[in-house]
């Protein structure tokens, strides 16, 4: 009895075993293989491959190993992955998230591998971190987080080499920039407001108050103090307490060019936020009616006394002939001024809260 070993084998169980195999393979095909064929096969040349070094013609440089050479930010991304930043920081702005800039779209992650979407947010989301803080802030914060954000539980990365630290900061500063360079978004961010977005404007008409009325402006003042004053200051001069820590300073609404804004431009900027800065998309937080109240208030803000050359191109060269000041030189300095205003980097009053970084310290004396 004991010597005779029965050979039962797989008889009768072949079919169930095949079913197990088939089930798995079907489900795998449906959930993994098909999405991977369908999800965004984006042409890499259409996207700014900011993580790869390019030559003057915009072609990627290939190193001796046959792989594209990584840029500073590209090496920084490898540091980000190696140091495990993804365990506490997501890069995945959801529709309901506030204060993290515009939400992510299909194609935002093209050419990035491995994924750093993240599943846990012990710290803030970093999708649009680039440009919010100066480089020096990032370096200091990585070395001693609690000196920069009290109560933070981020580990200190003081052990990073100088090179790794520089790369990592370059990567952090690159986050969210890709979206700005996305050809899809071009029209959206360049125009003051897109008329074509009919759904957006239809929604805005709901309960729209009279934006020229004092009542509406009064209502908007309260909303401004609750939501905007922390960055833009109580008088809209761009000098709220948060402004201290920002790389891109909040707008000073007393600048004359804000007077040129139409109601719709105001509304659009408030609703959609300003990409590349900390200005959030208020349409996710406020009702259209509240945003119109804000517009009414913003329109009433006073203009300061600074002297502005409205149109430097209208200077007549001939009228300056024979004068001691060369018109071209003058024109160049006006042009610089005009550009500074256009980009919002012009400082009428250097040395104040909103003063530029280089002049901020030295101007205390006068």
């Amino acid at each position: 009895m004991a010597s005779e070993v029965k050979k039962i084998g797989a008889k009768g169980y072949i079919l169930p075993a095949l079913v197990v195999a088939a089930t798995f393979i079907t489900i795998y095909t449906v959930t993994v293989i098909i999405p991977d064929m369908k999800v965004m096969k984006v042409d890499p040349t259409k996207y700014a491959m900011e993580y790869i070094e390019k030559d003057t013609n915009g072609k990627p440089i290939i190193d001796e190993t046959g792989k594209p050479k990584l840029s500073e930010a590209g090496r920084g991304r490898a540091v980000y992955v190696r140091e495990g930043c993804v365990y506490c920081h997501s890069q995945f702005v959801r529709p309901q998230d506030r204060d993290f800039g515009s939400r992510v779209h299909a194609g935002d992650y093209a050419n990035e591998t491995p994924n750093v979407l993240g599943t846990s947010r012990t710290g803030p989301d970093l999708s649009n971190e680039g440009g919010k803080m100066p480089d020096a802030w990032h370096v200091g914060h990585l070395i001693d987080p609690r000196a920069y954000t009290p109560g933070s539980i981020m580990p200190s990365f003081s052990f990073l080499s100088e090179e790794d630290m520089g790369d990592l900061v370059a990567y952090l500063q690159s986050l969210g920039r890709k979206r700005l360079e996305d050809p899809k978004n071009k029209g959206v961010y360049e125009a003051y407001y897109p008329e074509a977005d009919t759904a957006f404007w239809q929604k805005s008409e709901h309960h729209k108050p009279n934006v020229d009325s004092a009542t509406a402006a009064n209502g908007g003042a309260g909303i401004f103090r609750q939501n905007c004053a922390v960055c833009h200051g109580t008088n809209g001069l761009g000098n709220g307490p948060n402004a201290l820590a920002m790389n891109k300073k909040p707008a000073n609404f007393s600048r004359p060019f804000f007077k040129a804004y139409s109601d719709k431009t105001w509304y659009y900027k408030v609703a959609e936020g300003v990409p590349g800065t900390r200005m959030p998309r208020w349409k996710l937080i406020l009702e259209p009616e509240q945003m119109w109240y804000l517009v009414a208030y913003l329109k009433t803000l006073p203009q300061d006394q600074e002297v502005i050359i409205q149109d430097y191109q209208s200077i007549d060269d001939k009228a300056w002939e024979g004068q001691s000041i060369l018109p071209n030189k003058l024109r160049a300095s006006y042009q610089k001024l005009g550009e500074a205003k256009l980009h919002g980097t012009y400082q009428a009053n250097p040395g104040g809260l909103t003063g530029s970084e280089t002049e901020g310290g030295s101007s205390g004396g006068h």
Binding site: G9, Y28, D99, P145
Partner: protein
């Protein structure tokens, strides 16, 4: 001589070595987890030491407890259960012992390399190429070994545990190949989808299937009563086989992956309630009339506590995978608590019961101290309960913070008490694991031995004294 020692062909040796290695990794892995938890309360605890920074400890902890502890303990139990159920010897003890050495090498070197930042960067699949290949070699050897053992069986019908275990050893190599960047690397969101296909299926098609298979063996064996319904157990197996694979995308519900993939993930996640209810109904109906055994039978108490946590986990899981709830609680510590409830609460409790049961029989020695087993149970149970409840509360605080749009810097200031009590729970669990390892060590080195089945009964009456 060396051959005999390292590649023993003694019956049951591979199961024993897998189980003992697992206990070593449990102590080290839990120690790492505890250190990580302490760093939430004292962020500058290991300042300047890159290996001990939280971000380096975390992948080492996860890989060590998931592959070193839970997988190896489960495999050890399978190597014991499959021959027992098939009434035959393991196909090759040498092969299984070889796989054990390979895995120990991977866990030791792999986790050290993770602490040094040598990582693949995909969550739960951090081990780099050489380790991935070794893990897969070990897995395939074990699969081959167990499948050949089942083919050599001396009983006609396959018990449900055999189904579960064979399923696990069929799916896991596939899941591992798909989930690791060594074998399949993609970019962008595709990489994310693969990441969570792997991240969730290593749980569903490996830990769950093995854990439930082991519990299906242990509950009737320990209680001495047959399983309540065989057909219900098979329904559980087939539904888990059908429903689990596509659920991973529920980790990416608010990301721009295609809507239909998300919908599929949500529907199938919700459907997972079916296998859970069948398994638990079966366990609890089998125990009907014998619940008194919990007061004396410690291994059974471990297994059934695991079943209790299984209920919590698997009601919570489908619930939080639905869009509305996920909208609220995603990205928070609630999810971390849920993951621990599955791997630590449920499957660790299952497999600890099976280790106490199996190791006594494999070594032929009675456990050194029943009192220590009780301490182990209560410290682990209470420590885990503190840990789980704390993370749930912390998660809900975070959810409220995100939903109301408060900046992280504001609501994170309310969390330190949670971080601290989590570390307290972690300390209790770490201490319980040390007691466990000590107890097993003393059992193995003890002179006494007994081949009488009733002598090494795990059911030691309370009245007989602690030791």
């Amino acid at each position: 001589m060396i051959n005999n020692k390292f590649l023993s062909s003694q019956e049951g040796s591979s199961a024993k070595y897998f189980m003992l290695s697992a206990i070593v990794w449990l102590v080290i892995g839990m120690g790492l987890g505890l250190l990580g938890a302490l760093e939430f309360s004292f962020p500058d605890l290991t300042k300047g030491i890159s290996q001990l920074s939280f971000t380096h400890i975390r992948p080492a902890h996860v890989n060590m407890v998931a592959f070193g502890w839970l997988s190896m303990a489960n495999i050890g139990s399978c190597l014991y259960i499959i021959p027992a159920l098939c009434k035959t010897k393991l196909f090759s003890e040498k092969l299984a012992n070889f796989a054990c050495h390979v895995w120990n090498l991977v866990i030791g070197l792999g986790c050290w390399s993770l602490m040094n930042g040598y990582t693949e960067g995909r969550e739960y699949a951090e081990l780099r190429e050489p380790f991935d290949i070794l893990v897969l070699v070990g897995l395939l050897l074990l699969s081959y070994n167990l499948f050949r053992t089942v083919l050599n069986r001396q009983v006609e019908k396959l018990y449900v545990s055999v189904w579960y275990i064979m399923g696990a050893f069929f799916w896991m190599p596939l899941v591992y190949i798909v989930g690791n960047r060594t074998f399949v690397a993609m970019d962008g969101l595709n990489d994310g989808i693969l990441n969570w296909f792997y991240g969730h299926n290593i749980l569903g098609l490996w830990f769950t299937v093995l854990g439930v298979g082991i519990a299906y063996y242990m509950v009737p064996k320990m209680s001495g009563k047959p399983i309540w319904s065989h057909s219900l157990s098979m329904l559980g197996f087939w539904t888990i086989a059908f429903f689990y694979a596509p659920t991973g995308t529920h980790h990416l519900l608010q990301s721009p992956v295609p809507e239909w993939a998300k919908a599929l993930a949500v529907i199938f996640s919700a459907a997972l309630v079916i296998p859970v209810i069948t398994v638990l109904t079966n366990f609890w109906m089998s125990m009907k009339g014998s619940w008194w055994m919990l007061s004396t039978n410690m291994p059974l108490r471990f297994v059934l506590t695991g079943a209790l946590f299984y209920l919590f986990t698997c009601i919570q899981g489908p619930f939080q995978a639905t869009r509305g709830i996920n909208w609220y609680i995603h990205f928070t510590q609630w999810v971390v608590g849920h993951a621990h409830a599955a791997l630590l609460g449920t499957f660790t409790f299952f497999v600890i019961g099976s280790l106490y049961y199996g190791l006594q029989r494999l070594t032929g020695k009675r456990i050194y101290s029943v009192r220590l087993v009780k301490w182990h149970y209560w410290l682990l149970f209470l420590g885990f309960s503190i840990f789980y409840l704390t993370l749930t509360v912390a998660g809900l605080q975070q959810s409220a913070g995100w939903a109301l749009g408060y900046p992280v810097g504001q609501w994170s200031l309310t969390l330190p008490p949670m971080w601290f009590s989590r570390a307290v729970g972690g300390l209790m669990m770490f201490f319980s694991s040390c007691l466990f390892a000590f107890n097993i060590y003393k059992t193995l080195t003890a002179k006494q031995s007994s081949s009488d089945e009733s002598e090494l009964d795990m059911a030691v009456p309370v009245g007989k004294g602690g030791n």
